[in-house]
């Protein structure tokens, strides 16, 4: 990076980070005093109110990418990446609507808690393994970003930055459990929103926009200049299939993300969870719209000043160093760090829940609650340590494939959860087969492992969009058709849903003691869905 874009006073950056971490540790410490049981540790005692939870949901979802990677991709892909990013905001509302509140009724700690009740132990092991893999990949990406942010702030070598950032982060998350993760996430959301929006006002004023008073939406007067300099900026650029493919690859993946679902489960009630989603949409919309204006300003900056932003990830810092005082630039980096921390917090809590609650629930079902919680702490610490160690020499494939991982999750876990909640015919063996087969196909047809076997090319393949459009509909269709077939084979009777499995479904939908065999049990609509999925699958296989 050219020296003119570096933070010119390291001590200001250091002071900012020390203040932020002191607050995070204080929140973690005071929260830990409320943690007395596994319900407290994994779900904050099911007690978080809607505004705090809405802030926490938004912070957990708005990762370091919101400050770094997204802006970089808007700089390169321009408006289509804005459209790609907008749709993330429906993930938690969809999750809440389709299964979150149902699972909140059963006081689940993670979506896998439901999988265990609904499908039994072997299926849970399959789903939990996929989820842990994806959570570690996700945490690793955040950890690498944090290391880069520390490197940038203090000018220290990356390896030292990753040790300091990693240990400091894992420390306060381990101390605080879900209470700490949630309250810290709420605070971090406030920090990152201010850091994203307020300094942009000054930058837009310096760029000559009259809309500097509300950066997220009031930069329309800069549009004519932008079109003059970059005529293609607002072009849609891709055909309809590109936009349609966002639904299977990116909308359906996050629906199954355990750390997002856990934010719904921490709510004080089912109704409170829904109110939290309203706040989530407002908070996240404000932050995301701030991200779009930074992406716009980055393009505008390069087009109108003739300067080149070599490291597109650093656009927000470069704009702030160029237009704002050092203190403001340091605060913006603090906001980026807060974004990374809130997501890592959610990732590690999810890993703790998956190992400490779900896997131990299978391996050692009679273990005492206090002991399980200790294992949860250990899993959290080890998960963080693994992410730190891998971040030293990050495999390029892992770091660049967080988005790709969403396609893998949508292929392996989303059908299990959605069909498990809404369809009594969903069969245990069909789940294992469809999840394993389609998960492996997704890995094979993406360019990261076997580049010679690939569906799609370029960006759509690298991000998992083309692979997801093949394997996600295939997974749904295979699961449905195999379930119908297996449930009618006497030899496979052991895998068919039992009465207890079916009662779980009625109960989590709120029917209490009223069980009705015919409810959530038809095959006409599942077969129609399968037919649609097969059509999408064939469409996805066409060259693109």
């Amino acid at each position: 990076m050219p020296a003119e874009y570096a933070l010119n006073n390291v001590w200001i950056g250091l002071g900012m980070v020390i203040i932020l971490f002191a607050i995070f540790y204080a929140v973690g410490y005071f929260s830990s005093r409320k943690t007395a049981s596994d319900e407290d540790f994994y779900a904050a005692g099911f007690s978080i109110g809607p505004v705090t939870n809405g802030l926490g949901m938004a912070a957990t979802w708005a990762s370091l990418a919101t400050f770094l990677g997204v802006i970089a991709l808007i700089l390169r892909l321009q408006v289509p990446f804005v459209y790609l990013w907008i749709q993330w905001a429906i993930s938690i509302p969809l999750l809440t609507l389709l299964y979150g509140t149902s699972l909140r009724r059963m006081k689940a700690f993670t979506p896998a808690s439901f999988i265990r009740q609904r499908y039994g132990k072997p299926s849970t092991i399959v789903i939990v393994c996929w989820m842990i893999l994806i959570m570690i990949m996700y945490a690793l990406g955040q950890m690498v970003g944090l290391g880069q942010a520390f490197e940038l702030l203090f000018g220290v070598p990356y390896n030292i930055a990753i040790i300091v950032a990693g240990l400091a982060t894992v420390g306060f998350i381990t101390i605080g459990g879900m209470y700490g993760a949630t309250y810290n996430a709420a605070f971090q959301m406030v920090v990152m929103t201010i850091a994203m929006i307020v300094p942009m006002g000054a930058i837009m004023k310096a760029m000559g926009s009259s809309g500097w008073w509300f950066p997220p939406l009031a930069y329309g007067d800069m549009v004519p200049d932008m079109i003059k300099n970059i005529p293609t900026f607002f072009d849609m650029k891709y055909d309809f299939r590109w936009y349609f493919a966002l639904i299977p690859a990116f909308t359906l993946g996050p629906v199954a993300l355990p750390h997002l679902a856990m934010k719904v489960f921490t709510s004080s009630s089912v109704k409170s969870a829904r109110w939290a989603v309203v706040w989530f949409a407002l908070f996240l919309g404000l932050l995301f719209s701030g991200t779009y204006v930074v992406g716009f300003a980055g393009n505008y900056f390069t087009a109108t000043t003739g300067r080149i932003i070599e490291k597109a990830d650093q656009t927000i810092l470069i704009l702030n160093v160029f237009y704002n005082p050092t203190l403001v630039a340091a605060f913006v980096m603090g906001g980026a760090i807060a974004a990374g921390l809130s997501t890592i917090g959610g990732n590690l809590m999810a890993i703790a829940g998956l190992v400490g609650s779900d896997l131990l629930g299978i391996i050692a079902p009679n273990m005492e609650s206090a002991k399980k919680m200790k294992w949860g702490y250990a899993a959290l610490g080890l998960g963080g340590l693994a992410a730190v160690l891998m971040a030293f020499n990050p495999p390029r494939f892992l770091v660049t494939s967080i988005l790709w991982a969403f396609g893998l999750l949508a292929t392996t876990a989303t059908p299990a959860i959605l069909l498990g909640v809404w369809w009594k015919e969903a069969n245990k063996l069909a789940l294992i087969i469809s999840s394993m087969v389609c998960g492996i196909i997704f890995i094979v047809i993406s360019p990261h492992v076997l580049p010679s076997i690939c569906v799609g090319s370029g960006l759509v393949a690298a991000l998992g969009m083309s692979g997801g459009m093949v394997t996600i509909p295939l997974s749904f269709a295979m699961f449905i058709i195999l379930s119908i077939a297996f449930n009618r084979m006497p030899a496979l009777k052991a895998y068919a849903p039992t009465l207890a499995d079916k009662k779980v479904i009625d109960r989590i939908h709120g029917w209490g003691p009223d069980y009705d065999e015919s409810r959530y049990n038809g095959i006409k609509w599942p077969l129609i869905i399968s037919a649609v999925c097969v059509a999408v699958f064939i469409w996805g296989l066409q060259p693109w």
């Binding site: 429906i90 389709l98 007067d221 607002f234 909308t251 407002l282 207890a500």
Partner: protein, 97 residues
């Protein structure tokens, strides 16, 4: 009555799923119908600002409606469950694996 509640639950779920997908993916509509890519709002091309607005306030509005409708539906369900005989054999423990 329970049939009516069941159908209502399915209907509510489908309607809000579709509304969320439409608000989150409204850019697709502009690709599908290029004729809509005309005009400006607040200085922005319509195909840029409408997806952003729907992706923020549109989703929030759908979530608000979803919360009001689903919370009211929960009350209806709870009223129905109250009219039933007390549970005898469907405790959580019986369904644990």
């Amino acid at each position: 009555m329970k049939e009516k509640i069941y159908k209502k639950e399915i209907r509510i779920t489908i309607i809000f799923t579709v509304l969320l997908l439409l608000t989150g993916h409204s850019a697709s509509i502009f690709v599908l119908f290029p004729g809509l890519q005309q005009g400006t709002l607040w200085g922005f091309p319509i195909q840029y600002i409408i997806p952003i607005l729907l992706g923020w306030f549109g989703i929030a509005a759908v979530c608000l409606a979803m919360t009001l409708v689903c919370n009211k539906f929960d009350d209806e369900m709870a009223e129905y469950v109250k009219t039933l005989a007390p549970e005898t054999d469907t405790s959580t423990e019986n369904t644990q694996k």
